[in-house]
Assembly symmetry: C2
């Protein structure tokens, strides 16, 4: 390898600078040039909603290192040792000559930059719905610091009040929190029947939707936006059902890989640039990483590659690419489909397969939902949350985990991501020695309890039923509801149904004869534990058509009833 | 198996009730009796320090279910379906007749309880140092709700002010926080030269000690308590070096397994009752679990069994025992040596092997310490913490992880515990798809960054040196210190040394000739990243005797210098 290996990197946000910095550290003799179309490099785009929210007041913080140094081209030259050209667009790749034609956007000058190794880190771009009115003022995408800065300034100067968010994905949820906390009215319009349709299952979504509504977000689900209307600036969002007043609109309906350059150069692309485990494209001298590539999923059950643009993956790509260029190959194992978002006081996250994905793939899975507190109930800051777990019936491997609620779901999500990465079975997941002390968790970690419940279900001990299926049976009038909580709890909040019986668990061993033997009984309590115990007690008395509602009242994703309401 | 299987359980705190409740759910026909020497059953002993601290005001919360129901014998009878006898002591086991001789402590009545299966969940007892004065008033162990209740009441009634904690383990740290927050003066005396000597390494301990001292805990390390003195109630704690005034004393010098009953019955014991993976003792009809048994360590490098009493493990034992009795065996894989404690704003934790254990076992390991923020620096609530990681040189498997600091170390500890359980290599740990969003983590999770640093070290790229070794070299006058931070940072706080040079990283490529080539240079910055980059820059200029101080100023476990001090 030449002492003067020339490495050209196209794209200066996440994967690009990571590749360059890593490569320079391990291969100081490399001559590295990074070009970026925009004026800024290496900005933390994921932080934009928090700037809008007011979490921090200087948007330049997004380009600062933790030590407060601004990541400018000068920074990269003096601190990191590589050259950066901003406002420089890559026009085309000449693979034969190993050159990239670039255009300087300020001077319109064009030139050819040679490379021995080329890295495409061209990122993704926000999908632009093909509807009228997208060019109106006060319509924002949230992809660049300029977007966030102009939004904050315009809200302030023009007193914008009514925000409509188009799309209920990650950007939508983060912006809902940001704008509500900023004092605006927020309506969120989503084409599908649930929030985060690609990321989480309907039951977890419904729980989260209740939390959004409790925080004054107006949810409009199952409606397609057909036009934005207004006079100069946006005034209305029109859907296939209604017209919604709007002072500002945020479009967050997904990202598309920016793979034009690669496609035009004849590199294999398929909804994103195709790469191998070292980040190489179909041309071994050209690498690609970050939001412009399609990733493989670590779970071998999923044959297909997935397009999941994330800053965490982009940084991993950068390291893998740098290592391979430097002759120190470290294959990337793929993505585990982990994602997490904060929406007000809720943490919503997912890793691995969702139940919907598993169903679409026709996998034989078992599923359960647990709910409960994240710490012992006597500790301050103990909070409720729910875990949904999906496992393969064949080998009892954990395939996916979702979390939602006020409790610390982030910790359980990462522990689950780790376990799933290694092919954990339910028994193994429950056996992991998690750190236990009252400020951090109950003696049996919620993740272990959830794995236990699912094991019990697979073993035919726990006859749990998911809340969606329970609701369907209730709506069809095909079941009796048995509340086994104590009197005080049962009076505060309950699951409404036409036929309900209340027998506290401690009386059930005496009073079971009050229950009919010829119909389906659904038991429940606050979280599901006593509901399960009630099922077991009734089973022991010969009742064989009993199920408990998983997650209980705490995870019930529909309206509950309260006194006086 | 008989429909009337009689199961007798000795011990009613954690493993006992868990075994009984689980068994009754899966084997409703079992006749289960649980006996307990004390008057209370199923109390959360781990919560005692938080009651003292005032986190909750009703000590009965420790025996309540999350729904607020008190776990009394009546509760266990009506809700869980098994019998509980309190104030009932097991005197001896007649293995041949399959009976346990018990004594009712109130009536002094003795009787024999028959069993088909016996479960010993006799717990541990606080070690009582063999020194004079242990019977004085105002000397507490912190093992039972009565201890916590009487301490709180006595502090209030008698206005106790000076607390001396004997032992700097988990109880000591939790009580230090509790009593300082209650307004008392706290001195902690530890025989060893560091806090938590059995749990964490010296460097992590030293970082934590600085935090304790910052919170006004007076630390007395390396002194042995030889006597407690006083007149009726304790007035002084005497060590081999000094006498310390005391109004109250808490003894927290370890727990011993309460295995007398098992030993006297001829069961194999070795520093705790010996059990197999199903919880069976050397008598297959007698099980044991919880703090009275010795556990095997999941890491196969460690041949020896370990005595680690924890509520989390006790609950796992309970389930394993119940499953085996019910004919549904689920082997327990052992403990991973995970533990965690909160001390004021610090989370201190460990999983797997410590460096000291690895050294004692003569393992060929590599070690590093990372420090940094737990979230992007621009997010509110972003906090510093440190991760120490130990890996095997042979196969690069992660053997242990320790965390200390204000940041969210608990999440990383559990993710690491999960990875270590599955035999993760450093590359695998860094590849796990952790949930990324700014409220939860930086794009590259600290655990992955730490694994990267250690990989770099093993690959000969990163020449990191631990702070203890750095300090030893500094004290011996054998190195020059090179601070590569920017001017403003370098003026605020630095690592004091007789020979120091300050060259900001961005000037190093120009100014390296100012540095001597004939001696060891230790570089550092705030956390270690720029220190590492400086090392690489100097390596590229032919300097070959450069190391960076791992963890930088942020993890420096000795006094730092500040202007005016």
């Amino acid at each position: 390898m030449s002492a003067n290996l020339r490495v050209l990197i196209v794209g200066g946000v996440a994967c690009g600078p990571k590749t360059a910095a890593r490569l320079k550290r391990i291969m100081p003799e490399a001559e590295i040039t990074m070009i970026e179309k925009g004026a800024m490099v290496s900005y933390g785009a994921c932080g934009l909603p928090y700037y809008v929210e007011g979490t921090f007041s200087n948007i330049n913080a997004l380009t600062h290192t933790p030590a407060g140094v601004s990541r400018t081209p000068e920074f990269f030259r003096t601190w990191k040792g590589f050259q950066t050209l901003t406002r420089t667009e890559a026009v085309a790749i000449d693979r034969e000559a190993k050159q990239v034609h670039v255009r300087c956007l300020d001077s319109a000058e064009e030139k050819k930059l040679p490379y021995d190794k080329l890295v495409l880190a061209t990122g993704g771009e926000a999908f632009r719905p093909p509807i009228p009115g997208m060019d109106l003022d006060h319509v924002w995408f949230m992809t660049h610091p300029d977007d966030a800065a102009s939004m904050v300034q315009t809200i302030k100067e023009r007193g914008l009040q009514k925000a409509v968010l188009v799309g209920a994905g990650f950007i939508g949820l983060e912006m809902a929190e940001a704008l509500i906390n900023k004092g605006l009215d927020v309506t969120m319009v989503e084409m599908m029947d649930q929030i985060m349709p690609g990321a989480i299952d309907e039951d977890i979504a419904r729980m989260s939707q209740i939390h959004l509504e409790d925080n004054d977000v107006e949810l409009v689900l199952g409606e397609r936006v057909t036009a934005l209307e207004g006079d100069g600036h946006v005034q209305r969002v029109v859907t296939d059902h209604q017209s919604i007043e709007a002072d500002l609109v945020v479009i967050g309906v997904g990202t598309r890989p920016n793979d034009r350059l690669a496609r035009e150069a004849g590199l294999v692309c398929d909804g994103g640039i195709t790469i191998n485990e070292y980040g190489q494209t179909s041309d071994p001298d050209i690498y690609a990483g970050g939001d412009c590539v399609r990733n493989f999923f670590v779970n071998r059950l999923v044959g297909e590659r997935l397009f999941v643009p994330l800053g965490s993956t982009a940084n991993k790509h950068g390291r893998v690419i740098a290592n391979h260029i430097a002759g120190r190959p470290t294959p990337f194992s793929g993505i585990g489909c982990s994602s997490i978002v904060r929406a007000f006081d809720f943490t919503i996250g997912r890793t691995g397969l969702t139940e919907r994905m598993a169903t679409e793939m026709n996998l034989d899975v078992a599923v359960t939902t647990w709910s409960g507190q994240d710490k012992p109930h006597y500790m301050e800051g103990s909070r409720l949350f729910a875990i949904k777990m999906i496992a393969s019936r064949r080998d009892r491997k954990v395939l996916g985990v979702q979390v939602a609620g006020m409790g610390d779901g982030a910790k359980r999500l990462d522990a689950a991501a780790s376990a799933i990465y290694f092919g954990a079975t339910l028994d193994q997941l429950a056996d992991i020695d998690f750190g236990y002390a009252p400020p951090y968790s109950p003696p049996i970690d919620p993740l272990a309890v959830c794995a236990h419940v699912l094991t019990n279900k697979l073993d035919g001990l726990a006859a749990g039923i998911g809340p969606l299926q329970a609701k369907a049976l209730m709506d069809a009038g095909e079941c009796l509801l048995l509340d086994v909580r104590i009197e005080d709890e049962a009076k505060m909040e309950w699951i409404p149904h036409t036929r309900m019986v209340h027998i506290p668990l401690d009386q059930l061993r005496e009073r079971f004869h009050e229950l009919p033997r010829d119909e389906l009984i659904l038991t429940y309590c606050k979280v599901s534990m006593r509901g399960y115990e009630a099922q077991r007690i009734l089973n022991a008395q010969g009742f064989d058509n009993i199920k408990f509602i998983e997650g209980g009242v705490a995870a019930w994703p529909f309206e509950t009833a309260m006194p006086g309401l």
